[in-house]
């Protein structure tokens, strides 16, 4: 053997290190053994997960909370197909992932050999890009391409399919990792003409409002948003994934608008004459029926992805570029307008229509979440699952910083919250990480308790336990004459015993009076993960609610007496 050669797998690990990868989330299998063998001979950290979906969500939480590319490593066939949910989740929310999949020998591809699946083929609609490496010499270049594509522009997941003979092959140690991607370009700076036009619209608006989305978080535009808000006195609302880019404690922050948004955010949007979307894609959770979304207001859309412009909501001015760079240029053109009366109205709406919930009777999910928010003072990284608890977390967990609220927005993937918290805690060892989960979603990925216990991660798993798939129960209650179907989670485990079986600490809270005490105890416990089983009111519904497909002016503040029509929107 030539001295200057190494296996392609060893080269792979070397490139990962050069790319700044600190840890890999994964689970081995036959086709991936050469890669795991190379890992064993390196000092790269491997976080062994209990399921491949968990690995992708961990890599996702790692990426969302740090801004770096998350890496998952799995084997072929079922190992790879188990990652598809996590990949789709990352795609919908523009999260940079590189998913390395072992694969059968190149000569066995397409022959239905053991654990062989056309993973690239299956992944096409849910990835930013995918590669199948057939020539070991190309591996270095392809891995570099994967990182470049995943992490730049509008980020997204990239799959690299790695046949076993390719990773086992010997290549020259100095094989070039150079690449050219003529079909891939990123427009960072916006068109100055469009920026000037937007500045004129903003300067002359009487009732402007900013809508901050994930794009603003990803580009790190917090400072630029704040500068514009303070110069122009424009109120701000943020999408679920835009939470924290502009502090929610700020006087001019209206929280999240949309289906379960705050009443004052929805009312303000209905009153506004100009909506400036920064890296939000007018998702149907906010726009309801996009074709007639707030016709009274003009719309400016800042987005790095040209596909998003006029995709659903027609806009009056579009700027294609990176949010941070665009806002920075925009600032220079803005002339201070007069929004005094508008800001006064915003303050009045916030006062008159606050978020509220019943404080008497059984323990309320909102109470537990609000108390956790208060105790962690906006410094915790919060992850959520999907459902009622997610919306309550969006409403009551006040987020002060970017990358501190991680939730599966576009995909709505149950089971995301807990593994995402593992990734977030690994990326932020000094931070408090709280996973707000429901009893439904938590059970989809809870085997990762082993992973969290092994890694001694002090994650607070705040389990909002209502023994129901609560959001579906809410819909059945509101729109289907309370015919409950498939939502009663009878047979739930005793979560405290479950915690103990995993060697994990458990706390239980049933009474409102105990909330602070129990949460404080959980926050002080840092020897590993803990579950806080909050047994909450079973029949609570999330309000405000805009029925799916309806305009924001159709918002319900509480359960109406009269029978509701079935919603027109999809979900």
């Amino acid at each position: 053997m030539n001295k200057k050669q190494c296996t392609a797998a060893a080269k792979l690990i070397e490139i990962l290190k050069n790319q700044g990868v600190e840890c890999i989330f994964g689970l081995p299998g036959g086709s991936a053994i050469p890669i795991f063998d190379a890992l064993a001979q390196s000092d790269m950290k491997l976080v062994l997960t209990r399921h491949e979906q968990g690995a992708t969500h961990m890599a996702d939480g790692y990426a969302r909370s740090s801004g770096k590319v998350g890496v998952a490593l799995v084997t072929s066939g079922p190992g790879a197909t188990n990652t598809l949910t996590g990949i789709m989740t990352a795609m919908m929310d523009s999260v940079p992932l590189v998913v390395l999949c072992g694969q059968q020998l190149t000569t066995n591809l397409g022959l239905d050999t053991f654990q062989e699946a056309d993973v690239s083929g299956m992944s096409y609609p849910i990835v930013k890009h995918s590669f199948l490496v057939k020539d070991p010499e190309e591996l270095p270049s392809i891995i570099n391409q994967a990182f470049h594509i995943a992490g730049t522009g509008r980020p997204g997941p990239v799959i690299v399919d790695l046949p076993k003979d390719v990773t086992s092959a010997y290549i020259d140690e100095d094989t070039s990792g150079e690449f050219s991607l003529p079909g891939y370009s990123i427009r960072k700076e916006g068109d100055p003409k469009a920026i000037k036009e937007a500045a004129d619209m903003i300067s002359s608006a009487e009732k402007p409002i900013l809508l901050i989305g994930h794009g603003a978080v990803i580009s790190g535009a917090s400072r630029e948003v704040k500068a514009i808000v303070e110069k122009m006195q424009i109120p701000v609302c943020n999408t679920l994934l835009g939470k924290g880019c502009f502090p929610e404690s700020h006087d001019l922050n209206l929280g999240m608008p949309g289906m379960h948004g705050t009443a004052y955010a929805n009312m303000a949007l209905c009153e506004s004459d100009l909506i400036i979307s920064v890296g939000s894609r007018w998702d149907d959770r906010i726009a309801g029926s996009p074709s007639d979304f707030l016709p009274q207001a003009k719309k400016i859309h800042i987005d790095i992805d040209p596909v998003e412009i006029n995709k659903t909501v027609k806009v009056d001015c579009a700027i294609i570029g990176d949010a941070k760079s665009v806002l920075d240029s925009l600032y220079g053109y803005l002339e201070k307008g007069n929004t005094q009366r508008w800001v006064k109205l915003i303050r009045r709406l916030k006062r008159e229509y606050p978020l509220k919930y019943k404080k008497e009777g059984k323990l309320r999910a909102q109470h537990v979440i609000e108390e956790m928010s208060r105790l962690t003072k906006g410094e915790a990284i919060v992850t959520t699952d999907v459902g009622q608890h997610q919306m309550w977390a969006a409403q009551f967990f006040k987020t002060e910083h970017s990358r501190h609220f991680l939730s599966s927005g576009g995909a709505g993937t149950m089971g995301f919250g807990f593994p995402a918290a593992i990734g977030a805690q690994l990326a932020n060892p000094g931070k408090t990480v709280v996973a707000v989960v429901g009893d439904g979603g938590f059970q989809m990925t809870l085997p990762e308790l082993s992973t969290a216990v092994n890694e001694k991660l002090p994650i607070k798993i705040l389990l909002i336990n209502n023994n129901y798939l609560g959001m579906v129960r809410q819909w059945q209650h509101m729109f289907y004459d309370n015919r409950l179907s498939g939502v009663d989670l009878v047979g739930n485990p005793d979560f405290i015993k479950l915690a103990s079986a995993y060697g994990c600490k458990g706390f239980r809270v049933k009474r409102s009076a105990d909330v602070r005490k129990v949460l404080n105890a959980a926050l002080e416990y840092n020897d590993g993960p803990c579950i806080i089983d909050a047994e909450v009111e079973k029949y609570d519904n999330v309000f405000p609610m805009v029925p799916s497909g309806a305009g924001l002016d159709k918002m319900l503040l509480s359960m109406p007496r009269k029978k509701l029509e079935k919603p027109k929107g999809g979900t």
Partner: protein
């Protein structure tokens, strides 16, 4: 004409790699857009391919899909050429039933359209016809009454005029 029934001509310049065709086709399939024809072959520079697509559907959706095609990493450029002055050609092979009585008339029609007779048997004749797609439609229509047995069309290909580079 109903905009949802409009035919669109799209030309793409793409990397000559496996999977490119599927990625492109998926953009159309996801929006329920029907592909009428899809022609691809290596370009002058063999690292790239040129693809010509004819598809039916509304213009707004097509505009979105063009952006989605351009977003694909392997697509260098995707551009619409509907209603533009470019050179468009298609080739078709048409097999028609014939007998001694009809043969002369069929040959007259084919010669009027400058078709090439590529095969002849006791009961059939096969023609090669090239030109704009509308011309091929016209030949086919004229031959219909004799009994057209088979038609195989290549789908439309196009190239920009003069110095302009196609799909750039």
């Amino acid at each position: 004409m109903d905009d949802s029934q409009k035919k669109h001509n799209i030309s793409l310049y793409v990397e000559n790699k496996p999977g490119v065709t599927i990625r492109i086709a998926l953009v159309f399939a996801r929006r329920g857009y029907n592909l009428e024809s899809f022609v691809g072959s290596p370009a002058q520079d063999p690292r790239y391919s040129r693809i010509n697509i004819e598809a039916t559907g509304d213009s707004k959706t097509l505009h979105l899909m063009l952006e989605q095609l351009n977003r694909l990493v392997d697509v260098i450029h995707a551009r619409e050429y509907t209603d533009e002055d470019v050179i468009q050609k298609e080739l078709a092979l048409i097999k028609v039933r014939c007998d001694n009585e009809s043969r002369t008339e069929i040959l007259q029609i084919s010669s009027a359209f400058k078709c090439r007779n590529v095969d002849i048997s006791d009961t059939t004749m096969t023609f090669q016809v090239t030109g704009r797609s509308t011309k091929i439609d016209a030949v086919r229509k004229m031959l219909d009454k004799f009994g057209v047995l088979e038609v195989v069309r290549t789908g439309k290909v196009l190239i920009a005029r003069g110095e302009e580079e196609t799909s750039w």
